[in-house]
């Protein structure tokens, strides 16, 4: 029987939760955490870029806003990062709306470039903003193990379960919304905006909603990241490279699919970490080459991504009719 939809999600979740119990090497634990992080980040990107078709290469801005918000609140005002996360997400969502308002009138490439410029502006602003640490960044001092403060030292596991929770919530959100009117309308906006409009879709409104949702979750991930690495500066969270990294897993895994971001992250992150670790100095750039090659390969040969590939294999394996709606949703 083919596993799909919620049961598949539950199965994967069980697997994901069990995996780290057999891994004690912090290096590999780190890989797991990063993989989950980028799954979530890319899933958020997918909401706006995959479903709604608005490719944003400026997501780092929201990542950074989330990170900075919760960090400043925590280090200066003692606010728990758990709350800071929510606030960071909300602030990111607001900025997303503010940015979307002028940018959504642009179509296609123009929009993409606009997102890049906006993010770069953010980067420059934070770089020169002394109150927020400017180029030196902000260090998060360790105050002792605590869930409320979201800091752990003896083991990375709590971080892992934290990010997995975030990723799972986001997955559920994507699953639910893909089935709802919102999801359908987003796909219509992506597919053919003129036709969508003629059928009563208020395009601007839905684009804004997608932007807000995407920014919100990206911001939350940013907060998590800040707590995990205990140090943030513009170069680590607000750069264009970061924006690109956020989008890559989905591109590889399948834009506009439910599992695309996860599949892509599982392939890309471990690979790049391992490559970087084993090839070290002279290998610099090799991970980039592999990244780039994979992206080019996917974009030219199979734009539907790895999920599309899996769907094809299933079809030719003689299983049920077409890739089910939720595989493609």
């Amino acid at each position: 029987m083919k596993l799909q939809g919620l049961p598949l999600g539950a199965a994967v979740l069980a697997l994901v939760l069990a995996v780290p119990l057999g891994i004690s090497d912090p290096f590999f634990q780190n890989i797991l955490i990063l993989t989950a992080l980028y799954t979530a980040l890319s899933q958020a990107w997918n909401l706006l870029g995959g479903y709604c078709g608005q490719v944003s290469l400026g997501q780092a801005l929201f990542f950074g806003i989330g990170a900075y918000t919760s960090t400043i609140l925590f280090t200066r005002y003692g606010v728990s990062p758990l709350i800071g996360m929510m606030l960071g997400g909300l602030l990111a969502a607001l900025v997303g709306l503010a940015v979307g308002w002028p940018c959504f009138r642009l179509r296609g490439h123009y929009f993409v470039i606009a997102t890049i410029v906006v993010a770069e502006t953010g980067y420059l602003l934070f770089l020169n903003w002394d109150w927020a640490g400017a180029a030196t960044g902000i260090l998060i001092p360790f105050k002792g193990e605590s869930i409320v403060d979201f800091q752990f030292q003896t083991s990375k596991l709590p971080y892992y379960y934290g990010i997995v929770t975030i990723a799972a919530v986001l997955w559920l959100f994507s699953y639910w919304i893909a089935r709802s009117k919102w999801g359908f309308y987003w796909r219509a906006v992506r597919g053919n905006p003129d036709a969508a409009e003629s059928l009563g879709v208020r395009i601007f409104r839905y684009k804004m909603a997608a932007a807000a949702a995407s920014a919100f979750f990206t911001g939350i991930c940013g907060s998590f990241y800040a707590q995990y690495v205990s140090y943030i500066d513009p170069d680590s969270v607000l750069t264009f490279n970061q924006s690109v990294l956020i989008s890559l897993p989905t591109v590889l895994g399948g834009i506009g699919t439910l599992w695309g971001p996860a599949v892509g992250a599982v392939v890309l992150i471990p690979m790049s970490e391992l490559v970087r670790a084993y090839l070290g100095g002279t290998g610099q750039g090799t991970d980039l080459i592999i990244y780039g090659a994979l992206i080019v390969a996917v974009a030219t040969l199979k734009p539907e991504g790895l999920c599309g590939l899996i769907a094809d294999l299933r079809k030719s394996g003689g299983r049920a009719a077409r890739p089910a709606a939720d595989e493609g949703a």
């Binding site: 969508a196 409009e197 003629s198 059928l199 009563g200 395009i203």
Partner: protein, 241 residues
Amino acid sequence: MLLAVDDVSRHFGGVLANQNVSLTVAEGEILGLIGPNGAGKSTLFNIIAGALKPSEGRIRFRGEDITGRGPSDCCERGIARTFQVVKSFEAMTVIENVMIGAFCRTNSERVARGVAREVIEWTGLDGRRDALAAELTPPEKRRLEVARALATRPKLLLLDEVLAGLTPIEAQAGVKLVRDIHARGIAVLMVEHVMEVLMPLVDRVVVLNLGKLLAEGRPVDIVRNEEVIAAYLGEKFRARA
């Protein structure tokens, strides 16, 4: 009067595409909009659909002034349209395509699916329900356009050359579809070039030429109207009428 186009003009830079055009569509009637190429039919069509704003004049629909309202507004109020160059959602299935239309009237996915199923059935697309729009043949795609528009439960359906380029059998099927739509009380405004199919179908005809209203009336009168003939075939055929 369902739709009242009142003295509408539209210019693009120096070109006057529509000049003082007025027409009406009554509830449940089928109106044909014809005219030689460049007559301004598309412009007028798009103005009524909300895709273009008129430079002058007003549009009234069900008593409400909708001049200058966008396409999604018009759709909400009950005007649906098809596109001459079919604009399907290629990556979505037939039923998903139609559901987009259905969502105009509901927020529930279940209800939308039900409406879509029903529309797909009576427009004859039932066999292709789960096929991707990209896999459809051109006549099927056109039918999908119409089904999608119908799912928005319009009071007025604007059809843009839906009968063009069809084989006689396909054209017959198309005519039957329009008749079915008519039977459900939906008013239809059709832009067409294929005269022999259009004339038996419509209640009334409006003829545009060079941006202006040339003639209006029953099909049987229009085909014998000297000016119409002259507009289409040139002056030397006028005398032969």
